[in-house]
C-alpha cells in the first residue's frame, strides 16, 4: 500500500527500452510527479495499472511480446476498464489510424505524441497534466496531416468562412486569445465562434482542450 503526498500526480510508465524509460522517469520526477511503477511489456503494464490505479499512464506503443501495437491496445483496455483514464501513448511514428482508435471511445484524457516530444521536457509535462484534467493532446503532425487531407477531400460547407479559419487555427493548437489576436477579433467573438463550431459538430460539453482536439478530428473525419 502506497502512501502518497496529496496533490502529487502518480504515473505508471511503460517502455521496453530501459534507457528511454529511465530518462522519462527522471523528467517526470524532476517535474514533481511520482512514478509509482514501471513496465517493459503489456502484461506488466496492465497489472501495474490495476494495482496502483495511477493518475496517468505513459506508454510506448510498440512493446513485447509482438512488437506491434501493445501500448495502444493496453491504452484502449485501460480506458475500457475506467472511462476517461488518462493515457499518453508514445510512438516512434505517428499514424492517424492509431489516433482514430484511441479517440473512438469519445472520452477525454487521451494523449498521442511522437517519442521525441518527451525531450521537450516541461512542454511534455504540461501535456501530461492536461490529460490528468480530462483534456486531450494529439501530436501536431497528426493534426497537420489531417488538415491537409481535409483540404483535399471535402468542402467546408457546413461551417462559415470565419468558423473554418478559426477551426484551422484551433487545429494548430492555438488558444482563443491567440486566435483573436491573429484574426483581429475580440476574445468574446472568438468564444462565440468556437461555441458555434462545437455545437455544429455536435460535441458534448467536456474539458475544453479535449473538445478542441475532438472538434478538429471529428470535423476532419466526417465525410
Amino acid at each position: 500500500m502506497h502512501v502518497d503526498e496529496p496533490g502529487v500526480t502518480r504515473v505508471v510508465v511503460a517502455d521496453d527500452a530501459v534507457l528511454f524509460r529511465e530518462g522519462l522517469v527522471k523528467i517526470l520526477e524532476g517535474a514533481g510527479m511520482a512514478v509509482v511503477a514501471q513496465a517493459g511489456d503489456r502484461d506488466t503494464l496492465l497489472a501495474a495499472v490495476a494495482s496502483e490505479r495511477p493518475d496517468a499512464v505513459v506508454t510506448d506503443i510498440r512493446m513485447p511480446p509482438t512488437g506491434t501495437t501493445e501500448g495502444l491496445d493496453a491504452a484502449i483496455e485501460i480506458r475500457a476498464a475506467r472511462t476517461g483514464a488518462p493515457v499518453m501513448v508514445l510512438s516512434q511514428y505517428v499514424e492517424t489510424r492509431h489516433v482514430a482508435r484511441l479517440l473512438e471511445d469519445g472520452a477525454g484524457g487521451v494523449g498521442y505524441l511522437l517519442k521525441d516530444r518527451v525531450a521537450d521536457g516541461q512542454e511534455f509535462v504540461d501535456a501530461l497534466e492536461r490529460l490528468v484534467l480530462g483534456g486531450s493532446v494529439i501530436d501536431p503532425e497528426v493534426i497537420a496531416r489531417l488538415m491537409r487531407r481535409g483540404r483535399n477531400e471535402r468542402e467546408l460547407d457546413w461551417l462559415t468562412e470565419r468558423e473554418r479559419e478559426i477551426l484551422a487555427a484551433m487545429a494548430e493548437g492555438r488558444s482563443n486569445g491567440a486566435i483573436g489576436r491573429n484574426l483581429r477579433l475580440s476574445p468574446k467573438t472568438v468564444e462565440t465562434h468556437v461555441g458555434a463550431i462545437f455545437s455544429k459538430l455536435g460535441l458534448e460539453p467536456a474539458a475544453d482542450d479535449h473538445r478542441r482536439v475532438l472538434a478538429v478530428l471529428a470535423y476532419l473525419r466526417t465525410t
Partner: protein, 575 residues
C-alpha cells in the same frame, strides 16, 4: 472382388428372383404363353445391362437396360391379381416402357445425347407415351362390381375416355417409330467413318426393334392368344428378336472394334495442334473415362501434371489403374484411369497419342522449370522483405531508442547547465541536430518497411503515405481485405515509389491512388495531373519495382504523355 462387383452380383441374384417370381405368377394364374421365352427376353436385358454397368461404369445404357428389363415383368406379377397397386403399374409399364428403348438407342454408345434433334425426338417420345399413360391411369374405369381385384387407385373413372386413350397409346408407334428412324438416319449421316462403324450394332438393333414394335402394334396381344394363331406366332417371333437386341447392344458397347474406332478418332484429333489440357480431355473422351489424368515423367523420379506442377508418382490401386506410356524404353508419361477399362485399350490409346504425349512432356518440363524459377524469384522477394522488416525492427529497438534516450539525456543536461553561459545554447544546438538525425532515421526505417503495413494492412499504410505526401493525394480503396504479405508489400512500394516520383518530378498539383481487386488480382493505379513524360527507365526506382512485381507474376505499366499527367498501373496476382 471390388464392392461394386458384389453389388452387381447381388443385383443379378435379385433380378433372377424377380423374373422367376414373375413367371411363377403367370403360370399360377394360368396364362398361356411361352414362359421360357418371356423369362429370357427380360433376363437378356437385365443381364446385358449389368454387364454394361460393370464394364462401362458411368455409361447410362447399362442402368437403362436393367430398368427396362425389370419393368417388363410387372404385368406378369399382376397376373396374380392380388398385389395392391400392381394393376395400375402393369398398365403404366405396358404403355410407356418403349420410351426407354428409344432412350437407349439415342444415347448409344457414349451414354449421352449427341444432338439437339435427338433430344427433341426423345422428348416427344417420352411426352407422347408418358402423357397418354398418365391420362389412362387417371381415367382407369372402376372394376366390375363384386370383383376380388387388388387395390387400384381411382381418380376419374371414365370407361370411354380410357378406351380411347389406351387405343391411341397403342397406335402411337405408327407415328413415333418413323420419327425415331428419321433421327437415327440423320445421326448416321452426321457421323464420321469411325462413328459409323461404332453405330453399326445400333443399326441392326434398330431394325429389329422397329420390327418388334410394328408387330406389337399390328398383332394386338389379347388374353386369348390361341384364338388368333397368326398374332400368337408374331408374338413369339417378337420375343426371339427382343432377346437379340440387348445382346447386340452390349456386344457393340464392349467390342474391340468400337474402342479401336475411338482410338482412330483420337489419332485424327491429335493431328491438329491443341492445348495441353485438351490432350488429357481427348484421351479421357477416347477411353470414356472422365477421371483420366496424365502425369509426365521429367527426369529423375519427378512427375508433373500438364501445367508443370509437381504431382506424386502415379501408383495403381483399387481406385485407379496406371498405364505407362513408353518410347525407346524410356517412360514418358503415366495414364491414371478407371481400373475397369481394358488395359489393351489404354495401351492402344497411349501408343496412338505417343507423339503428342512426348511433345506435351517437353512442354510440361519447361513449365516445371519456369515454375521453379518463378518460385525462387518469389522466395527472393520474400527473403528481401523479411530482411527489411528485420532491419527496421533492429533500428527501432536499437538506434532509434538510443537516440531518443540520448535526446532525453541532453534535455536534462540542458536543464542542469542553464546557469552556465554558452553551454546551454551549445547543448540546445546539439539537441536540434539530434532531432534532425532522429527524423532522418525515422524516415529511413519507415522506408524499409512501415510497421503499419504489417499491423493494419495496405489501406492504412497507403493512407499514411498519402498523409505524408507534400502533394495532395486522394485515396480510393475498395475492399480493404488483408492479402499475403508479399502482395501487400509490393503494392505498398509501388504506391510509395509512384508518390515519391509525383512529388519530386511531376510538378503535379494533385494525385490519386486507387486500389481495387479484380479476378484474383490487386489493381493499383497512381495518377497525377503533372507534366507527364515519365518512363520506367534505367535509374528510375520503378525498374526495380517492375522486377519485384514480375516476381509475383504481375505487371506494371506507365502512361505518361507529355503535358497530360502520368498514370501508373500495376496488377499483382493475390496468389
Amino acid at each position: 472382388m471390388t464392392t461394386r462387383r458384389w453389388v452387381l452380383v447381388g443385383a443379378a441374384v435379385l433380378a433372377a428372383a424377380w423374373i422367376l417370381g414373375a413367371e411363377w405368377s403367370s403360370i399360377h394364374a394360368g396364362v398361356q404363353e411361352n414362359h421360357l421365352l418371356d423369362a429370357l427376353v427380360g433376363g437378356a436385358f437385365i443381364g446385358a445391362g449389368l454387364v454394361a454397368i460393370d464394364r462401362r461404369p458411368g455409361n447410362a445404357i447399362g442402368p437403362l437396360m436393367v430398368v427396362f428389363g425389370a419393368i417388363g415383368y410387372i404385368p406378369n406379377w399382376n397376373n396374380l391379381g392380388t398385389i395392391p397397386l400392381f394393376p395400375t403399374l402393369a398398365l403404366a409399364s405396358d404403355m410407356a416402357v418403349a420410351a426407354l428403348i428409344a432412350n437407349i438407342a439415342f444415347v448409344y454408345p457414349s451414354g449421352h445425347l449427341s444432338s439437339r434433334l435427338d433430344r427433341v425426338v426423345l422428348w416427344i417420345i417420352y411426352g407422347a407415351l408418358g402423357s397418354t399413360t398418365l391420362l389412362a391411369v387417371l381415367t382407369l374405369p372402376r372394376p366390375p362390381a363384386g370383383c376380388d381385384c387388388a387395390w387400384t387407385p381411382l381418380f376419374a373413372p371414365n370407361p370411354s375416355a380410357f378406351a380411347f386413350i389406351y387405343g391411341l397409346n397403342q397406335r402411337l408407334p405408327f407415328l413415333l417409330v418413323p420419327l425415331f428412324l428419321i433421327a437415327v438416319v440423320l445421326r448416321w449421316r452426321r457421323a464420321s467413318r469411325a462413328e459409323r462403324r461404332a453405330l453399326r450394332p445400333l443399326w441392326i438393333a434398330v431394325a429389329l426393334l422397329a420390327v418388334v414394335f410394328l408387330i406389337g402394334a399390328f398383332a394386338q396381344p389379347t388374353s386369348d392368344t390361341t384364338s388368333n394363331p397368326f398374332a400368337y406366332l408374331m408374338w413369339e417371333i417378337r420375343g426371339v428378336i427382343a432377346i437379340a437386341v440387348p445382346i447386340l447392344f452390349v456386344w457393340g458397347l464392349l467390342s474391340e472394334r468400337l474402342a479401336r474406332s475411338a482410338v482412330g478418332d483420337l489419332v485424327v484429333e491429335l493431328d491438329k495442334p491443341m492445348p495441353a489440357e485438351d490432350l488429357e480431355a481427348a484421351l479421357a473422351r477416347t477411353l470414356r473415362d472422365p477421371t483420366l489424368r496424365i502425369s509426365y515423367a521429367i527426369g529423375g523420379e519427378r512427375w508433373v501434371d500438364c501445367d508443370g506442377k509437381p504431382v506424386p508418382a502415379p501408383a495403381a490401386d483399387d481406385a485407379a489403374g496406371v498405364t505407362l506410356v513408353e518410347r525407346d524404353s524410356e517412360v514418358l508419361a503415366a495414364l491414371a484411369h478407371d481400373p475397369a477399362i481394358e488395359p489393351g485399350l489404354v495401351q492402344a490409346a497411349g501408343v496412338a497419342a505417343g507423339m503428342a504425349i512426348a511433345n506435351e512432356r517437353l512442354r510440361a518440363e519447361v513449365r516445371a522449370q519456369l515454375e521453379e524459377v518463378r518460385a525462387s524469384r518469389r522466395r527472393i522477394v520474400e527473403a528481401g522483405d523479411a530482411a527489411r522488416r528485420r532491419v527496421e525492427r533492429d533500428l527501432h529497438d536499437g538506434a532509434q531508442q538510443r537516440l531518443v534516450g540520448l535526446s532525453l539525456g541532453l534535455r536534462m543536461l540542458e536543464d542542469r547547465c542553464r546557469d552556465v553561459p554558452g553551454v546551454a545554447d551549445d547543448v540546445g544546438a546539439l539537441q536540434t541536430d539530434l532531432r534532425a538525425a532522429l527524423k532522418e532515421l525515422r524516415e529511413l526505417a519507415r522506408g524499409l518497411h512501415p510497421q503499419i503495413l504489417t499491423e493494419e494492412g495496405l489501406g492504412a499504410a497507403v493512407e499514411s503515405l498519402a498523409d505524408r505526401s507534400p502533394v495532395p493525394v486522394r485515396v480510393m480503396i475498395h475492399d480493404d481485405e488483408r492479402l499475403p504479405p508479399p502482395v501487400e508489400a509490393t503494392a505498398y512500394f509501388v504506391v510509395a515509389e509512384a508518390l515519391t516520383n509525383v512529388s519530386k518530378y511531376a510538378g503535379a498539383s494533385s494525385a490519386a491512388v486507387a486500389i481495387a481487386r479484380s479476378d484474383g488480382s490487386l489493381l493499383v493505379d497512381v495518377t497525377d495531373d503533372g507534366a507527364g513524360g515519365a518512363t520506367i527507365g534505367v535509374g528510375s526506382g520503378l525498374l526495380g519495382l517492375e522486377d519485384r512485381v514480375a516476381a509475383l507474376g504481375g505487371t506494371i505499366a506507365i502512361e505518361s504523355p507529355v503535358g497530360q499527367g502520368t498514370r501508373l498501373h500495376a496488377e499483382i496476382p493475390c496468389m
